[in-house]
Symmetry: C2
Subunit: 339 residues, 2 copies
DNA sequence: TTGAAAGCGCTAACAA
DNA sequence: TTGTTAGCGCTTTCAA
């Protein structure tokens, strides 16, 4: 297999120290020696043993990302895009990405403890922040470097990037109200997620400001999956009068909602308008194409990763907290109410 | 931060060796000592430094997974499910999962070389195998442990799990033929992917056997994305007579195809039937719900990971090669041809 | 400009 | 049953 420093040193009749320093580009190595070393290392296909480097430097050059999965049939385009962003940016900057999949619950903090205490990773990325988030409490308490995608309503000081979900949902409500809707239902995500609260607040506040009635039975809590959107809306349609529009807290639930509406032979955008949140690529290709609030997931992932790496490199953060303004993308799933 | 072995040893007035052995459960430690050590370690929150373990044991307890991404807007439910399966199974067995995202091309092998030669991971998982796959050639040549999701037509001996794509596509064709379709188009994936060839072969062979005409202009190569399915089918619909059915090599392209059909005011399942391959969760919630060939991605991911870990543990593999039979799931996107 | 030596935290052969 | 010692492969003082 690949050579170790020792072998390169032997071949060149140098000490391991010199080879190491030459490769690291230290200035106290004769230029000629440096060249000999570098080219020989290249020739022999040298790749450093990271475990040894890691042990010596006390730094793993790796970041951890624990995905809060739920069922086994976990399939959310949101996460694949997030991961691509994190992975690409981390890789570009020479960091590895360590992924674990652990459902929220008691084993979650244990996973964080293992990743951090074992020195497996130098920093972590936390997504889908929750109220009184135990992960954030843990990391803050231990002074472990991390950056979150998602804010926290509690008074904790930590770096994060978040999308203004209240504003995004406000745009959706205003759009529907302008189209003439008055009976608007809302499909929230799990209440414990911070973004669910924000988006819900955007809905409630805007409805109130516009003088729209909010019926409690029309504000439902789902699981952010297609099936939960589907089932919730299936029931919703039985009410009389039924809502003329449904806003879902994410696109997956919006798709489920559309399916439920269509199953009843109703027209999306006519009988019932549907709007989502995320703007995953599929939103442009559903039938009808989904009106939804766009958030730049890939860029956010890149940004979060970048902030974390700056932190790890001991560089200062220009902004510890960044709020992204989302924007509504109007497509075909919303229109004037028929009735 | 967390204690090291040395500190535990000092506190208990034992040697580091004894503490290490007690924690590892070696039998040559007095039961009483073992208990003292274990409970003190627990109490002090001991977590081993993996870099040190790794260096000593010459084993990383990590597996590598390099995702062949394409654009930045990478968002494929197929991969998130795959990753969940790999991640969960690896985690269950005490292995870390190291993810990189590298597009196919010259930098890809370099990424493999770094992961393997640096001893970052003990084994790798390869997905979306290609013809003359350089990744497989590299790993085989170096004798590096890996398991692939996807076979290889070349004569290379390596462990893999694959889905019988020829059979899956055959089922789709037979289903359409039975419904009365004769003018069937096919949207292939990139030709360099092994599974594309298999699925295409299933299409061509079955069409021939059934005595169906195959028009070359109706066999198109796409990129496995919604947009490519959309654009390809957009053009296809101009031909006269136009196809009454389209089979896509994956669900994402099938969604794009449906969107293109619907944009022209045509009826899916009536004017044009559409079938996919994968059966991602969204397939059940598209409008209309997508007829598609189901492959158990999560289980396959689990299986592949399991095989790899057996390999890494030096255990024998019952079967080095496993072929999974897919099955067609008939939903609403296919029906009798109208014209 | 180079090399010898120590040490990162752990495991394992060997001795006591 | 426990401790001493060496060493995994690398980086980094310190001395030459």
């Amino acid at each position: 297999m690949p050579p170790r420093l020792k072998e390169i040193a032997e071949v060149l009749d140098l000490s391991v120290t010199t080879v190491s320093r030459a490769l690291a580009g230290y200035p106290d190595v004769a230029e000629k020696t440096r060249q000999r070393v570098v080219s020989k290392a290249q020739e022999m296909g040298y790749v450093p043993n990271v475990a040894a480097q890691h042990l010596q430097r006390q730094k793993a050059y790796a970041i951890g990302f624990i995905i809060p999965t739920f069922g086994p049939r976990f399939s959310d385009p949101f996460f694949s895009e997030l991961m691509a962003g994190i992975g690409n940016e981390a890789g570009r900057q020479g960091y590895d990405l360590l992924i674990s999949t652990v459902p929220p619950g008691p084993k979650e903090i244990e996973a964080y403890r293992l990743q951090t205490y074992s020195h497996r990773v130098d920093g972590m990325i936390v997504v889908r922040t929750r109220h009184n988030d135990p992960r954030i409490a843990f990391l803050v308490k231990n002074g472990f470097p991390f950056v979150a995608f998602g804010s926290c309503d509690e008074d904790l000081d930590f770096p994060f990037v978040d999308v203004d979900g209240e504003d995004g949902t406000r745009q959706a409500v205003e759009h529907l109200v302008k189209l003439g809707h008055r009976r608007i239902a809302y499909l929230s995500g799990p209440k414990e997620l911070t973004f669910s609260t924000h988006r819900l607040r955007g809905f409630l506040n805007t409805m109130r400001e516009k003088g729209m009635p909010v019926r409690d039975e029309w504000v439902l809590e789902g699981k952010l999956t297609e099936s939960s959107g589907h089932d919730l809306v299936g029931k919703l349609l039985d009410s009389d009068p039924r809502p003329t529009a449904v806003i879902a807290a994410n696109d997956l639930m919006a798709f489920g909602a559309m399916a439920a509406v269509q199953e009843q032979g109703l027209q999306i955008g006519g009988d019932v308008s549907v709007a989502g949140f995320d703007d995953i690529p599929l939103a442009a290709y559903s039938h009808p194409a989904l009106t939804t609030v766009h958030q730049p997931i890939y860029q956010i992932a890149t940004m979060v990763t970048n902030m974390l790496i700056r932190l790890l490199n001991g560089e200062p953060l220009e902004e510890r907290v960044r709020w992204i303004k989302p924007r509504l993308v109007v497509r075909k799933s919303t229109g004037r109410p028929v009735s």
